[in-house]
Symmetry: C2
Subunit: 345 residues, 2 copies
DNA sequence: CTGTTAGCGCGTTCAG
DNA sequence: CTGAACGCGCTAACAG
């Protein structure tokens, strides 16, 4: 278990002072060429690397940013991470990823841990439990402590900070509009419980599209489910009713995939009898039969944007820094679960 | 931009020494009750938290472990992370996740960054490029520097460290055996290029099963592809040949899903005409039509095990520490792309 | 009961 | 050209 080499050890080796070594390694003009040379070759030989902890402590900054995610087994979030990593790389920042597991407690724990000096700023998507509790003191504490925070995707109006969100309303509008234009008039919305903000936003877009095209909004066509296995029973009932839906818009990928499977199993043909659109950046959609038309969220782009805003704030000296909210536009990714002229992929 | 509160500031506030404050906050018996009380309430009021950097520097350990992954947009790796996080939580360790993006350069960069004091140990799955180059000096440097390393999934024999691997040979054997027992005799293997170790291991299992059941191994039934879009042409040719396969074993999920789609598109019924098995821990398999039988890798379990070994080594004082290689057994997860008595899910 | 000192590893004055 | 001293924030051994 050989110990790491330090300035001190090199100094002892050549019987010079620590600061001489430090200067020599930085190629300071204050040090004689010979001394510099021998110290540098020695350092290279023993692969000297300054200790990050010491540097961070001294500089009072770490060039590291923390990312807190509700979960990681989720294609969208991994895309966001990819975007963050990408830009972090370019800007020579490190990234520390933590998971809140959708838990309020763990979110606070992570926040506290990161806030204790080890990161220069934090990017986060709020946990479901926190959304449900509607308790955001820990974030305000953080901000009061002067640690820059950027929220993405699941954001909270009450918190004053930079934000990056997908255009949930617009995306849902686009999807619903597409279904309407394809001739659907009885469009089922499968969404999350009320406390999930993005679910609500997407519902708004759905309603907006229906309104705009003068399609009546019907209560029985709004399905709120917590878990995908709740879909089967309710959807079956609707399909077998006297007035079955002819289109489905689901606020995420799994809901859409499950709904589509249930339709098929119950004798409906997709997209002939019923068209389906999901909302996601995911990978499942490409492999379902038929492949699933979705609203693409561009998670990678969101990640990049979030870090961009964060670095902006970190590097800003401006006392009157103005927080922004960036809207990332979505795209309708046409596949085979909807009727359309072209059906790529 | 209020600055964080430190021992020093509290000391100044009450005009006592820094160490008095430190002791007071640790409820030392050396300090009078009144002083302790007033210092503690003050600290609580201003939400004092010791600076982690300073603590880490002083203790020469960080209670943080680094994880380097080839990529993160990958269900298996996110499962492994979940396992690592889980145990890390229990043991009160932090986890820092980095991505090598399958790049040799970036792997080295990450390694160097983590090695400079900020983590107590590293868990890693090697990048493809490194596998291809067959150059492992950076790992040996790390180990020589006394930083514990655990490799998982994609491991390298030449590196002496703890390892956790899935039973790739066994899993592939199981899968192939299952196909044979279901009556397949012309089983196509879709695998990766030779330098990918896990691909090779799985190929070994495939051959072993064929040998054991005296099914001839045929060269034209071993398809090596780098990317999934190479599958279509080659598979089509085979299907249309005079001697088409009646079973497919693919070394990953995407290959299997793509192969199955191509079979269906070319008029073959799965599993009646041809059976398909994939290798993975993924999420796609559940949503294909038919759902895909796979060899489950238990990524979460692997993650836990990897961290377990790492903590073992970190906390071991033993100079004659013995490295282990843990084999994580796989399970055949039966779904609908293979014939069988029961077809759950 | 409280304070001083030293040290973790580093970089930066400032003196010599 | 080189070194001593200081500070980043914290703890622990030792003095008083």
């Amino acid at each position: 278990m050989k110990q790491k080499i330090t300035l001190k050890k090199i100094a002892k080796e050549f019987d010079v002072s620590i600061s001489t070594v430090s200067k020599a390694l930085k190629d300071s003009h204050e040090i004689s060429v010979e001394v510099k040379e021998k110290i540098k070759t020695f350092a290279r030989r023993y692969n000297y690397k300054p200790n990050s902890l010491a540097l961070n402590l001294r500089n009072q900054k770490t060039k590291t940013i923390g990312v807190i995610l509700p979960e990681i087994v989720h294609h969208f979030f991994t895309k966001v991470i990819t975007g963050i990593e990408e830009l972090a790389n370019e800007k020579r920042y490190n990234v520390m990823i933590c998971m809140s597991n959708e838990s309020y407690e763990k979110e606070i724990l992570n926040l506290e841990m990161l806030a204790n000096g080890i990161v220069d700023g934090i990017i986060l998507s709020i946990s479901k439990e926190t959304e449900e509790r509607d308790d955001y003191r820990h974030f305000n504490d953080l901000i009061r402590n002067g640690i820059p925070l950027v929220m993405f995707d699941r954001v909270v109006d009450k918190i004053e900070c930079n934000k990056v969100i997908a255009d949930d309303v617009g995306g849902a509008f686009q999807a619903t509009e597409h279904l309407i234009q394809n001739g659907c008039s009885k469009i089922l919305l499968i969404t999350t419980p009320d406390y999930v903000v993005v679910g609500n936003e997407r519902k708004l877009g759905y309603i907006k599209a229906l309104d705009e095209y003068r399609v009546p909004v019907r209560k029985e066509f709004v399905l709120k489910v917590e878990h995908e296995f709740e879909i089967e029973g309710k959807l079956k009932d609707l399909i077998c009713s006297s007035n079955p839906p002819d289109g489905i818009f689901a606020v995420n990928e799994v809901y859409a995939a499950v709904a589509m499977r249930i339709c098929t199993e119950n004798g409906l043909k997709v997209p002939e009898d019923i068209e389906v659109i999901g909302f996601t950046d995911g990978v499942i959609s490409q492999f379902t039969t038929p492949s699933l038309t979705t609203v693409a969220q561009h998670g990678r782009h969101m990640g990049r944007k979030a870090l961009e805003l964060l670095l902006d704030e970190i590097e800003s000296q401006d006392l009157e820094y103005k927080y922004k909210t960036e809207l990332i536009t979505t795209d309708l990714k046409l596949r085979c679960s909807t009727k359309s002229v072209e059906k790529p992929n």
